[in-house]
């Protein structure tokens, strides 16, 4: 092959046809490449400068805001709060920075962060500032944003700042198709109204993840007022995750009055709910619960059978021994092993720990 580049022929031995690259093309491509590199460098420098200036502005604003927020937090009366607000540097913050999105965003972020760490009158003062600067209006405006992350953040802000007056707007989002929006909204309604907020379970058709169920349970543990009248309805909900969550509620708060409703759930088409029902029955067991579980044992799948045996270990009595002995004839080794454990536990309850150990060694 021969190559003609920039007026010179370049030789080699291969039999590939000759290639001719004109001089002008080389100049043009070099020029274009240089322009591309220059544009890329310019963009990087421009972006870097912007980033540096943004970071510096943020740092400057953060330091101004920290003095401002600290002064507000330490006020003890409303007059004091108003006096602090009249200070010239705070007026400058309000007119110069709060009219700009970056200033408003940063102040909100700081207020939320501090509110999480403060209690008593200090937290009250932060909420006062939030309202005084009409930042609640800003959060409400963002509630109608088409972008999910903006909407979810707005819900989070309103809940953190205890803005109960917007509960109906937040409540509408508890069944949103977007998992992040509805998760935030469900947490918000429970944060704002406690157990009463769970009324979204009456209508929610979207699934409630197990993580979300645990978060809600954790939030509810911080509240005192409970209303159990809606629970039977939730246990019959068409949304399986609502039934699962209702069972967890019965389990955690040991609501014995719902024993029959939970037993009804043992026949639920969902295996997950049947399993949860078995565990819930353990916490609300009555004298006949173990006998009921015997009845359901033979109709259940293997995983549920193992759950029933696990629960029987805790609630079973000597009355269950004939049934348990009959299970020893089953072919499944894991059922046999678990049955042996239950029989030992029931026969010698005080040696529960030791028998476990012995069984383990034997296995």
């Amino acid at each position: 092959m021969r190559l003609y580049i920039a007026g010179i022929w370049w030789h080699n031995t291969s039999a590939v046809p000759d290639i001719f690259i004109p001089k002008s093309f080389l100049f043009e491509s070099t020029f274009l490449f240089a322009v591309a590199i220059f544009s890329l460098l310019s963009f990087i420098i421009f972006y870097l400068m912007r980033y540096i200036s943004y970071t510096a502005k943020r740092k400057h604003l953060s330091s101004i805001y920290s003095s401002f927020i600290s002064e507000i937090i330490l006020c003890e009366t409303e007059e004091e709060l108003m006096q602090v607000m009249q200070q010239s540097y705070i007026q400058t913050i309000i007119y110069k920075w709060l009219s700009r999105p970056i200033g408003k965003r940063l102040l909100l972020k700081n207020l939320i962060k501090i509110h999480r760490n403060m209690s008593g009158s200090a937290a009250g003062n932060i909420r006062w500032l939030y309202m005084h600067l009409a930042l609640d209006q800003d959060s409400v405006k963002r509630l109608s944003s088409p972008k999910w992350h903006i909407k979810a953040k707005a819900i989070q802000e309103l809940a953190e700042m205890k803005q109960e007056k917007y509960i109906s707007k937040i409540y509408r989002e508890t069944n949103n198709k977007n998992v992040y929006i509805r998760t935030e909204a469900q947490v918000a309604v429970v944060k704002l109204t406690g157990f009463e907020g769970l009324r979204f379970l009456n209508v929610v058709s979207q699934p409630i993840t197990q993580w979300q169920q645990l978060s809600l349970l954790q939030l509810l543990s911080l509240k005192n007022k409970f209303q159990w009248d809606k629970l039977p309805g939730w246990l019959k909900s068409k949304n399986e995750t609502v039934v699962e969550f209702a069972l967890r509620l019965v389990e955690k708060y040991q609501r014995y009055e719902f024993h029959n409703e939970v037993v009804y759930c043992l026949e639920h088409p969902s295996a997950l709910i049947r399993k949860q029902s078995i565990y819930t029955l353990k916490e609300i067991s009555q004298p006949h619960t173990a006998h009921l579980l015997e009845h359901y044992f033979l109709m259940s799948e293997k995983e549920e059978q193992l759950c029933i045996l696990e629960v029987m270990q805790a609630i079973g009595t000597k009355e269950q021994l004939p049934f348990l002995n009959s299970l020893l004839a089953m072919e499944d080794a894991s059922i046999q092993y678990r049955t042996h454990k239950v029989i030992r536990q029931i026969s010698v309850p005080d040696l529960g720990y030791d028998t476990d150990k012995i069984s383990g060694e034997a296995a």
């Binding site: 953060s62 920290s66 600290s70 937090i73 501090i114 403060m118 008593g120 200090a122």
Partner: protein, 119 residues
Amino acid sequence: MKILVAEDEPIMLKIIELRLKKDGHTVITTDNGRDALEHIKTHQPDLIITDIMMPYSSGLEIVGTVKLQQKSTPIIVLSAMGQENVVLEAFNLGADDYITKPFSPNELSLRVKRFTYMA
């Protein structure tokens, strides 16, 4: 009373500083554990208030170091909710008191006052 406050969150640090200054204390602040240990050496504070989660050296390391040096300086630990195990560890190391976030600056002021009387 000379108080050293170690907290990595700038606004929290400022709030605690202002509150304690309002009560008439001299306050030294730092936002990391390494500097806190330096300040303890150089300023010999009468009371230390430290957050648990901090860069370079944690609050637990501060408690451990101070108590290892047989210093009787009282230490108040700031912990987040749900950090009971860490608080227990801090007490085992020799911490004197703790405050759980969220907290009220007035509550902090009262706790500090208790150590003022004891000093």
